[in-house]
């Protein structure tokens, strides 16, 4: 049961703070995905807000659920009124009602400029079944991309690029300025590649076939093999250089493309992750390693 002390404490907090979020964790370190989403939205509105970390006090955690008749956290209060949880806040933000409540302006989303290469345009046109659904690109909170056909929604931001219409929800649109969609051939047909300059640097994936093509095209990049000397003696790719830590990186520009390869793609990913921390921006992991090179590019390279 909600004790009078806790009730008074909570009501006092709600009264004193114009915008108050009961959440797990704090503004800087939300400890649950739903709380993190609401924090993201509140920050985006530019409003001033306070938070209460319910994980610090079970009495507060249970108390607020009872006071609001709402069994989940986060919970948003504005001007003493219970607004709702994550779903409701998201919906109200998309419709502009949240901004109205907060007394802030609805920021117009500037449609991003994006581009598609010929292969991507063709693949999209081939996939369109003519049902009137739109092509939608959604970018998740961890920069996961989802490209799909579905119904257009009223709050969508629509961008036309190279003759193709692409729909975004507002959050995804904000993260897409300068985004490029291209089509890459893969052993099992082909796939979309999305390059997004807004994304924090991370290790990108490449395939043996693609690296072979880069070599054939004379693309400028560094190609490192992180395997041991013994393994190199067993099997090697002529164009790849043995990686010797910092020595190997001397003189390589931070913007230059660097590809790492190992036996199956695990050790090379670790090496790739490490140089990302040194500020290299275009770091690729050759997925499947030299094993995949042997199977898809050059069968003369022995497998082991």
């Amino acid at each position: 049961m909600l004790s009078d002390t806790v009730k008074t404490q909570l009501e006092d907090l709600i009264k004193k703070n114009k915008v108050l979020l009961f959440m797990k964790g704090n503004k800087h370190f939300p400890q649950c995905g739903f709380s993190a989403q609401v924090i993201g939205i509140l920050k985006e509105t530019g409003t001033k807000f306070e938070t209460v970390n319910v994980l610090q006090d079970p009495a507060v955690r249970d108390g607020i659920k009872e006071l609001s008749s709402w069994p989940t956290i986060p919970q948003l209060y504005v001007d003493g009124e219970f607004i709702g949880g994550c779903d409701i806040v998201k919906e109200m933000y998309a419709s502009g009602d949240l901004q109205k409540k907060l007394g802030v302006e609805v920021k117009a989303v500037v449609p991003p400029t994006i581009s598609l290469d010929e292969g991507a345009v063709k693949a999209i046109k081939d996939a369109d079944d003519g049902s009137g659904d739109v092509l939608r690109l959604t970018i998740g909170s961890n920069w996961q991309y989802d490209l799909s056909f579905d119904a257009k929604k009223p709050d969508d931001v629509v961008v036309v690029a190279n003759g193709v219409s692409v729909c975004f929800d507002k959050e995804s649109a904000k993260k897409s300025e300068g985004l490029k969609i291209s089509w890459v051939e893969t052993p099992d047909g082909g796939a979309f590649r999305i390059e997004n300059p807004n994304e924090p640097a991370r290790v990108k994936s490449t395939t043996a076939a693609e690296v072979k093509k880069w070599l054939d095209d004379g693309k400028k990049f560094s190609f490192f093999d992180v395997r041991t000397e013994e393994e190199l003696a067993t099997a090697k790719v002529a164009q790849a250089t043995h990686f010797d830590g910092e020595k190997s990186l001397a003189g390589i520009d931070k913007d230059q493309t660097v590809v790492f390869m190992c036996h199956h793609g695990m050790r090379s990913r670790t090496a790739a992750d490490r140089i990302l921390k040194d500020g290299y921006k275009n770091v690729f992991n050759l997925e499947g390693g030299i094993d995949s090179w042997s199977k898809t590019v050059d069968s003369k390279v022995p497998t082991y």
């Binding site: 249970d62 709402w70 069994p71 709702g84």
Partner: protein, 79 residues
């Protein structure tokens, strides 16, 4: 997991007898998605509608070892 889904569904039926209720597994342990279609939501705000459903299962979400940890997605619709 099947049992807890059925428990949730029955708890919602008790509050919303004319509802078509779908309870599914969500993104992980103790996470679920719920869809309820019922005329009872007519004229209600999203907050009121969600509160009606969440209120029905609140007892399953209480305390530390609660069987229902979070609702990933809750949809309330009128038929």
């Amino acid at each position: 997991m099947g049992d807890i889904r059925e428990t949730m569904r029955l708890a919602i039926v008790e509050k919303i007898p004319d509802g078509q209720i779908l309870v599914d597994n969500g993104s992980g342990g103790g996470h679920f998605t719920i869809q309820v279609v019922s005329p009872v939501f007519a004229g209600k705000s999203l907050l009121e509608s969600q509160r009606l459903v969440l209120g029905a299962i609140a007892h399953l979400m209480k305390g530390d070892g609660a069987p229902v940890h979070a609702i990933d997605k809750l949809t309330t619709k009128t038929p």
